[in-house]
């Protein structure tokens, strides 16, 4: 369990659909972490699979987020989320480039824009679903960035055992993020269903 991350409690019993939502979001966040790691490696080592990995990360992953979110919130919000994830990936790309090319002047600016993006993303998420608490997501994103940064430095520094340990933590964090996202959707839908089935008070 990553430091500072609290385990996500899950509803005691779930329907098949609820479990599917949970699995879908966990899987997408894990995918993001996995392809992000692959991408960092391919960029740092100038691997021959760089184009293929970049496509899988930059096109494949945001599209999976889009497909999962559009079911619950429609294409407009899903597109907005896709744009945010894509921008996040682009910034990480620039960050790796700057660290690799030893450009501390750029690293500071990019790190700042990543932090600002995280704050904005957390606010956006809460505006979409009040169960996606802004401070929780802010914390998730900040931890995510911290681990990502550690991972990049370990890869560049050739500390591969440490890099794998950080990646395992990043994966744990990803499952928490996916769990929180799914739980927020399940809670809001359950609430809506309860409201719809509650009897309307009549004036007597």
């Amino acid at each position: 369990m990553p430091n500072g991350a609290s385990p996500e409690p899950v509803t005691r019993d779930m329907t098949f659909e609820q479990m599917n939502a949970l699995i879908a979001f966990r899987t997408i966040w894990i995918e993001l972490a996995m392809w992000m790691r692959e991408f960092v490696y391919s960029l740092v080592d100038n691997d021959p699979n760089q184009v293929a990995v970049t496509n899988r990360l930059y096109i494949g992953v945001p599209l999976k987020f889009y497909n999962a979110i559009t079911v619950f919130y429609g294409p407009e919000i899903a597109e907005e989320f896709l744009g945010r994830i894509s921008r996040f990936i682009l910034r990480v790309w620039r960050l790796v480039d700057a660290i690799k090319n030893n450009r501390p002047d750029l690293v500071g600016d990019i790190a700042m824009s990543l932090q600002e993006g995280a704050i904005q993303n957390a606010a956006f998420m809460e505006s979409v679903n009040p169960n996606w608490d802004r401070s929780t997501w802010n914390n998730f994103y900040i931890q995510y960035l911290r681990m990502l940064n550690e991972m990049i430095l370990f890869i560049i520094g050739g500390e591969y055992e440490n890099e794998i340990r950080v990646f395992d933590r990043l994966q744990n964090l990803s499952t928490l993020m996916g769990g929180n996202m799914a739980r927020g959707i399940i809670q809001s839908r359950s609430r809506r269903e309860t409201e719809l089935t509650e009897p309307i008070e009549s004036d007597q």
Binding site: V10, T11, R12, D13, M14, T15, F16, M19, L22, I23, R26, I30, M34, Y41, D45, D47, P48, N49, V51, A52, V53, N55, R56, G158, Y160, E161, E163, I164, T175
Partner: protein
């Protein structure tokens, strides 16, 4: 979804414990696929992270299977399965090595051994749990090995877009394997 893969049905309503079993076994198989892929890349390209990746695959993955199974089957059976998973990894390693060096005899011998190990693994699982059918496990293992071989070939040929497509199919297959494993645990009552 890989050709011929049957989507494993999941119970309509799942308890917290059942869901945990499903998530655990899905994650384990995904972990195995992910590190196996990473290992193939590192080995083929002589990457400097080869040792770390090999440790994560050869030590980390089997121990996770052990930890998950020991809860339901005790130490002896969990250890037996750990050895079988480790063995599959070792034979797979030999296969990558033989394919990389163009050793045809080695490729044939490792491939044969891989399928034999998978057959024995399928029979072992079927002996543990009535829900787990040996032929079903054999089919799943066979698909896993076939796709794994395709990944090695694609990496060796430098056909990386194709390799990622195959890997995505492996990932789908691991979902089926994880569900099937979890359903067996659920069917025997999670105790």
């Amino acid at each position: 979804m890989p050709d011929g893969v049957i989507i494993e049905p999941i119970p309509r309503n799942v308890t917290f414990e059942q869901m945990n079993a499903i998530l655990t076994f899905r994650t384990l198989w995904l972990d195995m696929a992910m590190w196996m892929r990473n290992f193939i890349h590192s080995f083929v390209h002589d990457d400097p992270n080869l040792e770390a990746v090999t440790n994560r695959l050869y030590t980390g993955v089997p121990i996770r299977f052990y930890n998950a199974l020991v809860v339901f089957y005790g130490t002896e059976i969990a250890e037996e399965y750990l050895n079988r998973i480790s063995n599959i990894i070792v034979v797979f390693w030999r296969l990558v090595e033989a394919m990389k060096s163009g050793d045809q005899e080695g490729v044939q011998s490792a491939t044969r051994e891989l399928y034999e190990t998978a057959d024995q693994g399928a029979a072992f699982l079927a002996s543990l749990n009535d829900y787990w059918d040996a032929s079903r496990w054999r089919d799943l293992y066979t698909q896993y090995i076939n796709l794994g071989i395709q990944v090695i070939l694609a990496v060796l040929e430098g056909n990386y877009e194709n390799e990622i497509r195959i890997y995505d199919r492996i990932q789908d297959l691991t979902v089926t394997m994880g569900n099937y494993m979890a359903n067996g645990i659920i069917a025997r009552g999670l105790n």
